[in-house]
Symmetry: C2
Subunit: 411 residues, 2 copies
Amino acid sequence: MKADLDNLMKKYGVDVILVTGSAQHNPAMIYFVGTAHVSEAILIKKRGSAPVLFHYPMERDEAAKSGLELVSFSKYPMTELVKEAGGNYSEAYILRTRKMLEDLGITSGCVAIYGKDDVGPFYTMIDRLKEMLPNLKFQGFIRDEIMMQAMMTKEDNELDRIREMGRITTAVVGKTADYLTSQKTKKGVLVHKDGSPVTIGEVKNLINLWLAERGVENPEGTIFAIGRDAAIPHSVGTPSDPLCLGQTIVYDIYPCEAGGGYFYDFTRTWSLGFATDEVQQLYDNVKTVYETLYRELKLNAPFSVYQERTCELFEGMGHPTIKTNPATEIGYVHSLGHGVGLRVHEKPFATTVNPSPNDILAPGAVFTLEPGLYYPERGMGVRIEDTVCVTADGKFEIMADYPKDLVLPMK
Amino acid sequence: MKADLDNLMKKYGVDVILVTGSAQHNPAMIYFVGTAHVSEAILIKKRGSAPVLFHYPMERDEAAKSGLELVSFSKYPMTELVKEAGGNYSEAYILRTRKMLEDLGITSGCVAIYGKDDVGPFYTMIDRLKEMLPNLKFQGFIRDEIMMQAMMTKEDNELDRIREMGRITTAVVGKTADYLTSQKTKKGVLVHKDGSPVTIGEVKNLINLWLAERGVENPEGTIFAIGRDAAIPHSVGTPSDPLCLGQTIVYDIYPCEAGGGYFYDFTRTWSLGFATDEVQQLYDNVKTVYETLYRELKLNAPFSVYQERTCELFEGMGHPTIKTNPATEIGYVHSLGHGVGLRVHEKPFATTVNPSPNDILAPGAVFTLEPGLYYPERGMGVRIEDTVCVTADGKFEIMADYPKDLVLPMK
């Protein structure tokens, strides 16, 4: 939680957090500024102090929505900085940040850098600031145990926003099921009134529309894939594919609040009209593992324990897994889950390759549980996924209920 | 154009381009990979060679859509790299990139870095790679004259995609005009059948929906602002504001292809039902300047010339401008325009503060022409904007036609 930040900064020897970029699809910035849609800003938080937001003068009204202490870039006029930098625009741009740091009394210590932005200009700026302010150390974290750790455990208002995204997500999934099962069929293919096939691309357009109607975004797309595509975990589906009865459809949907706020992550696998025996068996295996895992979840347990357990369970059913063969492309081929918040993938991670000891199912953690099995050559893929949270009193909760039926009977 | 890249790299002493990040809302990556929706990738292009795309094994099908030479990250298994790095995951992650560079024979020279990504991990990686490969120099550009320059001049297929975005944008603007003029009014306010006022927020929701129906996004929002808000260039509008007759509405819409492709940028100023004399006069001033500028556009002219010219024209009409007072918040307060492409703001820029000599109206350039006048205290703002391109044979073309009427008569 945000309240943990100062302690985490102390634990990892960080004196200052500096966040760059816009407040659109930029989790670190959004975490601080909320719904203030600044297009380019710098946020600086000293350990033990409230953050300060530097913003464009034209965006003063937006910046004010953050409720943070504000400083306008107009305090540092570029025309004067360009003069001071001997006509060098790039140097003037760097000088501006130097002055911001100095105005906050930051001239020594460790500055942790965050934010999604153009890496080129930012790299050049930091590299030059190191020369200008030799007592400052700048640090970026490939594995971040400070902001990502604070963000891992959600406050109640964050959980409420994710639950609302879950409600919207499952409403759209319900509309998708209604649409599919209401179509006519001809020779085992869903068809329109004029006899033309209903395609993956059309359904995806409808999903986009239903999400937009509810004021949310799916910046990373949606997986709606059938047959062999469904058996390749990250294939998003082929738009021209027709929808055939009795084939597995993997429908993985991960929308977020408009502008890049909180996400939800959800998957169901469907077979329209009927399921073949081998698909049903595969599905039952995945559902059994899902239910076993959910029952076994323990407060504050390392998430990686359940990745190990998933491999063990699937192997017991005779499936290859990445535990026995890290390069396998059949059987169980991915991670059991990941945290969900302002990023669709965040802490806690379930990875067993050098897991962080902090990736645990702590109160406030929100994570996916998504076992799956994939057999591309047999044209079958199955995944079941819910987003789960740990409540403040240590209970596990599926954040949006939705039936787990494989077969959707045609109306 | 992409074909210019090798020459530009040579001109600025760059041997390698390295692009990081996803292919969503990441112009440098999208420029190379097109519509292949990889979620995390590294692209490396040596001068004189075709680019190579390093991608996650699970995204092989998406990566293949790029048509580029591919290398899967599975060539560099993290478990082995972690071992090689003595159990240090961050170091292993950096080693992976080192091996990619070495496998392409890149161990000396200048690497220009691009892409929108988390700046922290990327900074740490480059800083460490500099130590590992001391003959490599890494450079990020605060003012970029290589990729941004190549991207400034569009190929015909890029112009076609921007024209199509223009067609969609103006179709949505037309629907908005139809919707507004079809409403009832009561005491000078647009009202629903139940007598409740039609609000800015409702209209913006409809705009979002109409854009979504056409399969496009507006990641940076839409400006639909009335009255005093219309007179503050970057105010996006207040959702609860009612729509009143005879007040200026600034409607600035800048959507892009789904996933962050090509943008269009367009503004009209409307006054519903009637316009007051002072608004009409302000509008006529802006329209006159727009038309004068468009007539005066010359092939290969520096864009900044027209910013100067705009100030001169507005000053001749008695308006304050940022030329006479850089801090003015009334009159003409912003830049005349900017390039449009995979970014909504890109080269050519019209800035007169240290303009780049390369920011010219060259064949293939796509740019906005958007003079405006703002008087917040009088509750009036006017801006007219079209996206214009320079065709291969050196002609100027407004990329999507739309009427420039100020007054929209109510039906």
